[in-house]
């Protein structure tokens, strides 16, 4: 794999994609993509629409299999893994969906409890963890409400509580702030940072929201033409003269939302 996409001085890689290619019909989405996600970091994957950000995320959790290349999580190759290996990898993984993907006929509490019950925890332990997680996302008073009764931001927060309920090593976020107002976006960003700082989870965030990316990222990977065109810290990202990065930043150059001012 290309060393360009591994942060210098980092040997502990949790997720590694090597030469990953994926096409849908005639359309080549990923074309030999190399990427290494260091353990304990939040990495934001950015790129224009249709550049394969979500496809990359889905390859990491085994929802999609690449046509070529390998994807490994914590040393276990995900693509082509046995059912048992895939279950083991997924048991250490949380996923926050763009639309939250809460089970509609279960209450918020029951949604957060789902992965815990699957792990065979006792009812009292499940209740304690659910209370704690809902409290941490500021939703301790809506546990009995159903997803249809919650706002978009609340659903995302319940989705986050569910994703981190089991204390995963890796949390994948698919467009977590899309369609949210600036205040709620900031709340979700704080939760993503908390995912790393409070739970010690490595985060991979797919986003095209520059402000949000600069707030939560330790590294930003820019996807372009099916590959990682740049793998930069937020400061390097802001200073970059890559044309696609410039086009992202130039949409709102005065305020990047992180206190940094784009040049």
């Amino acid at each position: 794999m290309s060393d360009a996409n591994v942060p210098k001085g980092t040997d502990d890689v949790l997720v590694r994609l090597t030469g990953v290619s994926k096409r849908f019909g005639e359309k080549v989405v990923l074309d030999g993509l190399d990427l290494a996600i260091p353990r304990g970091a939040n990495v934001v994957i950015m790129g224009l629409s249709g550049t394969g950000k979500s496809v990359t995320l889905k390859c990491m959790c085994g929802m999609l299999n690449p046509d070529a290349g390998t994807v490994s999580v914590d040393g276990v190759q995900v693509n082509g893994a046995s059912r048992k290996d895939l279950r083991r990898v997924r048991s250490k993984m949380g996923f926050v969906f763009q639309g939250a993907a809460l089970i509609n006929w279960l209450s918020a509490r029951e949604n957060v409890a789902l992965p815990l019950r699957e792990q065979g925890l006792k009812a009292r332990e499940v209740d304690e963890i659910v209370d704690q997680r809902l409290d941490e996302v500021g939703l301790s008073d809506i546990g009995d409400k159903f997803p249809g009764e919650l706002s978009g931001g609340m659903r995302k927060r319940v989705g986050f509580a569910r994703a981190v309920a089991t204390g995963p090593d890796l949390v994948l976020y698919d467009e977590p702030t899309t369609g949210l107002d600036p205040m709620t976006t900031r709340t979700i960003d704080e939760l993503i940072v908390a995912g790393r700082d409070r739970y010690g989870a490595t985060g991979v965030v797919v986003s095209h929201d520059v402000k949000s990316a600069l707030r939560v990222a330790d590294r930003i990977a820019l996807l372009y033409e099916g590959r990682v065109a740049a793998f930069l810290t937020p400061d390097e990202f802001v200073a970059s003269d890559h044309p696609v990065i410039r086009s992202f930043l130039d949409l709102d150059p005065a305020d990047d939302g992180s206190g940094r001012r784009a040049p």
Binding site: M63, R90, A101, L102, I103, N104, R162
Partner: protein
């Protein structure tokens, strides 16, 4: 010529897709039955099954009662008029009871279940598929077949049998009311005639062949409607349009398969095992 080959190509492609869907449905049915009877967490599986059974019975009870009553009444009216021409009105109870038990009860129940419960299941699972809820379950290591499919299919099998018994009873009662009002046959005599005709030949304890062949039919119909609805829902894609397509596919396939399999089961019971 080009149009002909294009149409032929579309037909073959549709046939291939239909075969693939049938294969997927059959595997899903087999998988659900195995996992339903050998659950990893029996208490939770039982609770999901009972929840589904209750919800399915509530959804279809009123329709089943109304349709069952009128089906029996129509049957009695049409048959009674013909029998009167031959002076054989006393046969009316036996004909209505046998028609309801053998064919009309299971068939009517199946059609109602396909249109109400089957459509609801296809829409529910289809919506879950397009809104990534099923992906979320898989990523939480929760098997959608155990969690969603198995309780729905097994409950639909049991619902179909219970509702068929109800349709048979209501249908015979409806027929009895028409027999008394139109043909002057006392209700008590009609019900006794129906009971007597359904008492022989007795196999399986106290069930006559008329009854148990109909109940086996409804069990098979229920399981198949459940499997078709779940398979259509799980394969939905393309947003709201895809969910609508899944519901239509589920209802159409259920009605067609009910008729075809109904004929085959009738042939097995009344020709092969005569």
């Amino acid at each position: 010529m080009r149009a002909f080959f294009s149409a032929l190509g579309s037909f073959c492609s549709g046939l291939g897709s239909g075969c693939e869907h049938a294969g997927h449905t059959a595997l899903l049915l087999a998988d659900s039955i195995v996992r339903g009877f050998v659950p990893r967490q029996p208490l939770r599986a039982l609770r999901r099954f009972i929840d589904q059974l209750y919800s399915q019975l509530v959804k279809s009870l009123l329709v089943v009662i109304i349709v069952g009553a009128f089906m029996g009444m129509i049957l009695a009216l049409q048959t009674g008029e013909e029998l009167r021409n031959y002076g054989a009105e006393e046969q009316l109870a036996a004909i209505v009871a046998a028609s309801m038990a053998r064919e009309m009860g299971p068939f009517i129940t199946a059609i109602i279940l396909a249109a109400t419960v089957g459509a609801a299941i296809a829409a529910e699972l289809g919506t879950m598929r397009v809104s990534e809820e099923i992906d979320a379950l898989e990523l939480m290591n929760i098997d959608p077949v155990t969690f969603l499919v198995s309780p729905r299919i097994l409950a639909l099998g049991v619902s179909a049998v219970l509702l068929t018994v109800l349709v048979n009873v209501i249908g015979v009662l409806g027929g009895g009311v028409v027999a008394q009002a139109q043909f002057g046959i006392p209700l008590a005599d009609f019900l006794e005639g129906a009971r007597a005709s359904l008492s022989e030949p007795v196999i399986f304890g106290s069930l006559s062949k008329d009854l148990y062949s109909g109940l086996v039919k409804s069990l098979v119909f229920g399981l198949m409607i459940g499997a078709l609805a779940c398979a259509s829902g799980l394969r939905a894609h393309g947003g709201a349009l895809g969910v609508g397509r899944a519901v239509r596919q589920s209802v159409v396939a259920s009605v067609v398969i009910t008729l075809i399999v109904g004929y085959l089961i009738t042939w097995v019971f009344w020709v092969l095992l005569r």
